[in-house]
């Protein structure tokens, strides 16, 4: 069992959720309640990681993170390390790959709130922030939860993008999925089996937790 790889995977999963959630909530809500020029294009862009092969996405991200791109160069200049093949780079890549898994459920959840309910909140004298925290977020809660779980689970299982952008550096970018592949390559089936089972347990547990939570919420709401 590669504990370091498990730690990298969990950090990457939690980190991706933490980075993506605020962005995803903002973006999903905008897409749900606003009508603006270029909305269709933005929605298409958000979904691109869904249909693009992970290796292709990984390749573009690698190019973007390289020292010859403005982003890679800036990171190198400020932090003093390469963005590619680092945990930070991996986190950013994972966040980008997971955009559709966060934005879409959140957008659907905000779309499901009747416009009259939003308007009623405004007519009750609630400011935009109060409206968001007291009315909209509680009503969109199940969508936000789904988004978090999908991102977490998807990050744990991501392979192509991780391999392209992160490589396979122990303690830095070697996640559990990569470690499993590594073990299989080295004909260590039992090592791979333990790690695969770990991921399976984590996946089933998260899904059960989500189902329980969302069922409890819907019971409370009648």
């Amino acid at each position: 069992m590669d504990w370091t790889a498990l730690r990298v995977s969990l950090f990457l999963g939690i980190g991706s959720v933490a980075v993506l959630l605020p962005v995803g909530i903002w973006c999903g809500r905008q897409l749900a309640v606003r009508d603006f020029r270029g909305k269709l294009l933005l929605e298409a862009l958000v979904s691109v990681p869904l249909v693009l092969p992970p290796t292709v996405l990984g390749f573009y991200l690698l190019v973007m993170f390289g020292v010859r791109s403005p982003l890679g160069a800036a990171f190198q200049a400020i932090i003093g390390r390469s963005l590619a093949f680092s945990f930070e780079g991996l986190l950013l890549a994972s966040a980008i790959a997971n955009v559709p898994f966060v934005v879409q459920p959140i957008q659907r959840a905000f779309e499901a709130i009747p416009p009259d309910v939003r308007d009623a909140a405004a007519c009750c004298g609630l400011s935009p922030w109060q409206r968001f925290f007291r009315i909209e977020a509680p009503l969109a809660w199940s969508g936000i939860l789904t988004a978090s779980v999908l991102t977490f689970a998807h990050t744990l299982g991501e392979f192509g993008v991780v391999l392209m952008v992160g490589g396979n550096l122990p303690g830095e970018t070697r996640t559990l999925s990569i470690a499993i592949y590594d073990r299989v390559q080295a004909f260590d089936d039992s090592g791979a089996g333990v790690m695969a089972a770990t991921l399976l347990v984590v996946a089933v547990t998260t899904l059960m937790m989500t189902t329980t939570l969302s069922r409890r919420m819907s019971v409370r709401r009648g």
């Binding site: 009747p114 009259d116 309910v117 308007d119 009623a120 909140a121 405004a122 007519c123 009750c124 004298g125 609630l126 400011s127 935009p128 109060q130 409206r131 007291r134 009315i135 509680p138 009503l139 709401r221 009648g222």
Partner: protein
Amino acid sequence: MGKRLSVSLRQAGPIPLDVEFTCGAGDVLAVFGPSGAGKTTILRSIAGLYRPTLARIDSDGQRWVDTSAGIFEPPHRRAVGFVFQEYALFPHLSVAGNVMAALGHRPRPERRARADQWLAQVHLAGYSDRRPQQLSGGERQRVALARALAREPAVLLLDEPFSAVDRPVRRRLQQEVDTLRRTLDMPLVLVTHDFDDVVRLATHLLVVEQGRAVASGPLRELTSRPDLSWLREAVGLGSVFDASVIRTHPSSGLVELAFDGGTLLAPHRQLAAGARVRLRVPAREVILATAEPTGLSLHNAVAGTVSAIHADPVFDQVIVQLAVGQVLLLAEVTSDAVRSLRVEVGRRLHALIKSVSIEVLAIHPE
């Protein structure tokens, strides 16, 4: 002169608007018109949920919108109570929580008690901890009303408030709103496509067609105008005026009603002497006669003077307006009858009204 609302809205599209009106405290202005006439847009503009191209809205001395001066107060800074057509309650909050959401202007410790008070006012005491999903349509509408009132608004806006409930509930709600508005010192704007709401609740009427005001004024004045062909086609003409019960005749089931111009008999069993009522006399039910008839099964024959005649070119009918004291009655007759009776302005005539055709509405027991 308490709170007053004055509204002026104008735009060419996408939803055409061209209306201007004022509404005083205690007045009920009914915005009436067919579906898609822009009625709801007028209401949403007052609340700040819609921004017309040109608008000026003043409420209780405060300027909410003035597009020419670049003033636009967002909805949460306008003291409006808005009752939505489909209630729009917050499904994740209790009944009390819904009302408390509108009590942000009150100190936190007071809110629960105030919410309970408002709920008691709409006859929902004891419902505080229920969820909106556990309530009937009528109860939900009452919660929505309590929530709108809890804001202590400068104007109360009702968007088709009775359209989603069935008849008996509708009657009860209408009556409660009518009772409430007598105690509230604020203008009330009611959007409806049902004339029943108008005659039962409104003091003033604004008829809207494709965003344009077709007619506006006090209800009594508008309903006694002979020339509103739009109203005639939509609901039929008929004067609306107030009266009070002076005597009941339990044996015959009739009540004697005094109005500014005489008395009328109408069938009604539940009324007591002293009660104030609103009457509607449909123009098609009024017969004109040159002399008071005898030998008819008729209770009501009132004398009056012809004050206006409107010949509708489309139909072969004439609307005759008859001044009976302060009340202007309308009679819909054929042009042939106008010729044979020599009906002209100033002529004394008798209006014959069957007692069963008088609509007794909006009862406020004294």
